[in-house]
């Protein structure tokens, strides 16, 4: 923990550098998302872009956590405490994603996707809450 004036002055320089790095990282994030030349994967947003964006964000967040929040010289108890939050949030996100991605397709209960024609047939007669039976004629759209 930076306690002496010299240590604090040294740390101050480090904070400035990290601050600069964060600015650069932010610009990089925007460039990666907007400039076509930097668009990895297919054209437009896809999984590769998502992962890249999250990696950059994680690096930036780690810089903030480790240096600005001086986790680099914190006590073990704090690692346990904050770490437990990170561990359980990962479990929560991962298991929710797993539950979403692993649906029940037991043939006893689920026959698979209905044929396209059946679906079109049932969609052509929707019980939509249409407004009135008789209504004033629609106004002509503006030219």
């Amino acid at each position: 923990m930076a306690d002496t004036p010299e240590a604090i002055k040294k740390a101050t320089r480090l904070y400035l550098i990290i601050g600069g790095a964060l600015f650069v990282g932010t610009v990089l994030t925007v460039l990666v998302a907007t400039v076509e030349a930097l668009d990895i994967g297919r054209h437009g947003f896809d999984m590769a872009d998502c992962i890249l964006g999250l990696i950059i964000a994680t690096v930036k967040a780690s810089l903030v956590a480790v240096i600005f929040m001086h986790l680099n010289h914190e006590k073990k108890a704090i690692y346990w405490i904050f770490g437990s939050g990170l561990v359980f949030v990962s479990f929560m996100a991962a298991l929710i994603a797993l539950a979403k991605g692993d649906p029940q397709e037991d043939p006893l209960f689920y026959d698979g996707r209905p044929a396209l024609e059946e679906k079109a047939a049932e969609e052509s007669a929707p019980p939509v809450e249409a407004a009135p039976a008789e209504v004033a004629p629609t106004t002509a759209a503006q030219p």
Binding site: A77, I81, S84, G85, M92, L95, I96, A99, D102, Q104
Partner: protein, 631 residues
């Protein structure tokens, strides 16, 4: 300090204090003293428990005697106006039953047991047992209580609104919970909305409380109080604190999102194409997912049940050694078990969701973790049973309750095991079996443990014992009635009785009277059990009267204690004057040994308290685990 010290009054504790006496408000209402806050939590929680109990009594009438008007002896508390709105010719309607059911669950869980176990017992006993002068953040502690009270009152005030209180189950699933009371134009005046507002306040209160508890336990332990010298009670409170801290926020997220669905007409949990009879196609964007709500709810929901359990086990684990004059068996195993239990409780939640269409992989995960989590629970219970073996058992009132906790919680836990398997849960989900299971755990289980705690620490709080006669009058009928009410539920559940039926199942008879379940039972076979169960519930209410009388009468007329340590216990809370004053201890305590030093062969007495300094020619007690002293 000798173990048989003459009782000190609270006044002596002030001789080191230079504070002038705070006024009545500061001392009894807006107190920052953990003991007063503990008592505030305790009294408030018990009042909420009584209210939740009454709701259940009305529900049980509807179940046992469907279509019959509520009898005078139950309906007198309601005003005529209220009855004309909520009872149809005196009968409990489905809507009213749902409202009572949802609020019964909410009140008992969030406003009753957690504040009683964690807020009341945790607040009062934890700082004392670790040798601290108070909680780490006394003002925060006070705020926790008042925010809890505000949240609870807001939830209950909704009973008097035109919409009534929340009525979509204590689980409050969307889309129903997003829609119910939707006809109220100003959504802020709808009971369902107020339930969410109350919930956000309760979660805030819990979060502040858990931060306080964990910080106190980590940083305010007395000199010599290493981790492995902590009473099991404190370990249980530590784990409970972490469960509340980390599991509640996702429910807060879900609550905020459901609130947005109601007042901002968002569609977080509303699927596309939602159609209701009263409104037709919903005027919403759709695209949301009801399943998302369930995940976020049960992410809290499962750790919540361990939040309910651990304070009760904590009380029982303290009471057993005191009354068997033997150390707690398997202390280390119990500590590791409770830590593993806390960890595992975060990754089992979807066993409440087996019927939502989850695939084999995720279902297997949750079945495995759910079965695994039974292991630490069994270790805890087994350790407590073995602790009785060979003990010199004194059946004091707290010991009666503690001993009843063990088999009752055991039944509750064992009946949960079949539910861990989705194959079995397919048949038992949403039946009375589940209700029977969790009520066994909470009612004759957890509540008995907490009653034990009341009887055990009452002498420290008031300086008098509770009347043993009234204790027996409270205990025996309660034990009998609890089993009368909840055991038949297990049977009914297996026969296919669905939960949340307001008519006790008789409507089912009209449609499918002879349909048998996998065991060959029909609803008709077991519908008459409803009557016995309901009378058991009403008798249970009567059985609580001796308890309330005891609580208040003994304060004035109970047998006075003759020492600050009337049970001859070993843990630090008994080293204080009675009642403990501001600052708790007369001098800063030091801890020299573990928490359960009973019947040591090298001791004249059958107990050696933690705080008694070793005699001159005795070596100091070795620190149980070298690593603990580091932090």
């Amino acid at each position: 300090m000798s173990a048989h010290a003459t009782p000190h009054t609270g006044h002596d504790a002030h001789h080191d204090d230079h504070h002038h006496d705070p006024g009545f408000l500061r001392k009894y209402v807006f107190s920052t003293d953990h003991k007063m806050i503990g008592m505030q939590y305790g009294i408030t929680a018990m009042l909420f428990l009584a209210f939740g109990f009454y709701l259940m009594m009305v529900m049980r009438w509807s179940i046992a005697y469907p279509h019959q008007p509520l009898p005078e002896w139950m309906s007198w508390v309601f005003s005529d106006g209220w009855k004309s709105r909520w009872l149809q010719d005196g009968k409990v309607t489905g809507e009213t039953y749902n409202m009572f059911g949802a609020m019964h669950g909410t009140i008992m869980v969030f406003l009753g047991i957690v504040p009683l176990g964690f807020g009341a017992f945790g607040n009062y006993v934890t700082p004392l047992q670790i040798g601290a002068v108070d909680m780490a953040f006394p003002k925060l502690n006070m705020m926790s209580y008042w925010i809890y009270l505000a949240g609870g009152l807001i939830m209950c005030a909704s009973f008097f609104m035109e919409s009534g209180a929340a009525k979509s189950g204590w689980t409050n699933y969307s889309p129903l919970a997003g829609f119910a009371d939707g006809q109220i134009v100003n959504q802020w005046l709808a009971g369902q909305t107020q339930w969410l507002v109350g919930l956000v306040l309760l979660i805030t209160s819990s979060l502040l409380g858990s931060v306080n508890f964990i910080t106190t336990i980590i940083n305010l332990r007395a000199r010599g109080m290493t981790w492995m010298r902590l009473p099991f009670f404190v370990w249980a409170m530590l784990v409970t604190g972490f469960l509340l801290l980390l599991a509640f926020p996702p429910l807060e997220a879900a609550g905020i999102m459901q609130l947005m669905d109601r007042v901002a007409h968002s569609s977080f949990f509303m699927p596309s194409g939602l159609f209701t009879k009263s409104e037709g196609l919903a005027d919403l964007s759709g695209g949301g997912s009801p399943l998302l709500y369930q995940h976020l709810f049960w992410f809290l929901g499962h750790p919540e049940v361990y939040v309910l359990l651990l304070p009760a086990i904590a009380c029982v684990a303290e009471i057993i050694p005191v009354n068997t004059r033997k150390p707690l068996w398997g202390y280390k195993s119990m500590v590791y078990s409770v830590l593993v239990l806390g960890f595992l409780s975060f990754i089992v939640w979807a066993h409440h969701m087996y019927l939502t269409g989850m695939g084999p992989v995720v279902s297997t995960w949750f079945q495995v973790t759910t079965v695994l989590i039974s292991i630490p629970s069994v270790i805890l219970l087994t350790a407590m049973i073995i602790s009785l073996w060979g003990g010199s058992i004194r059946f004091t009132p707290p010991m009666l309750w503690a001993c009843a906790f063990i088999p009752m919680f055991g039944i509750g836990g064992l009946t949960g095991l079949p539910l861990a398997f989705n194959l079995v849960d397919l048949h038992l989900h949403d039946t009375y079996y589940v209700i029977g299971h969790f009520h066994y755990v909470v009612a004759p289980g957890i509540l008995f443990g907490l009653f034990a705690g009341v009887y055990h620490w009452y002498p420290k709080i008031t300086g008098r014992f509770m009347s043993p006669t009234l204790s027996h009058l409270h205990f025996w009928p309660s034990l009998v009635c609890m089993n009368l009410i909840f055991f038949p539920m297990l049977v009914q559940g297996m026969a296919g009785f669905h939960r949340r039926w307001y008519n006790g199942g008789d409507a089912y008879l009209a449609k499918a009277a002879d349909s048998v379940n996998v065991f060959g039972n029909t609803v008709r076979d077991h519908i008459d059990l409803n009557i016995i169960m309901s009378w058991g519930a009403w008798a249970l209410a009567v059985a609580q009267i001796p308890f309330f009388i005891n609580l208040f009468l003994s304060w004035k007329t109970g047998k006075k204690i003759t020492s600050d340590n009337p049970w001859n216990a070993t843990t630090l809370e008994w080293a204080t004057p009675t009642p403990p004053g501001h600052g708790n201890f007369l001098e800063e305590p030091s801890v020299y040994r573990g928490p359960y030093e009973y019947s040591r062969p090298d001791c004249d007495e059958d107990y050696l308290p933690q705080w008694v300094a070793p005699k001159r020619n005795e070596p100091a007690e070795p620190v149980a685990d070298k690593h603990d002293s580091a932090h």
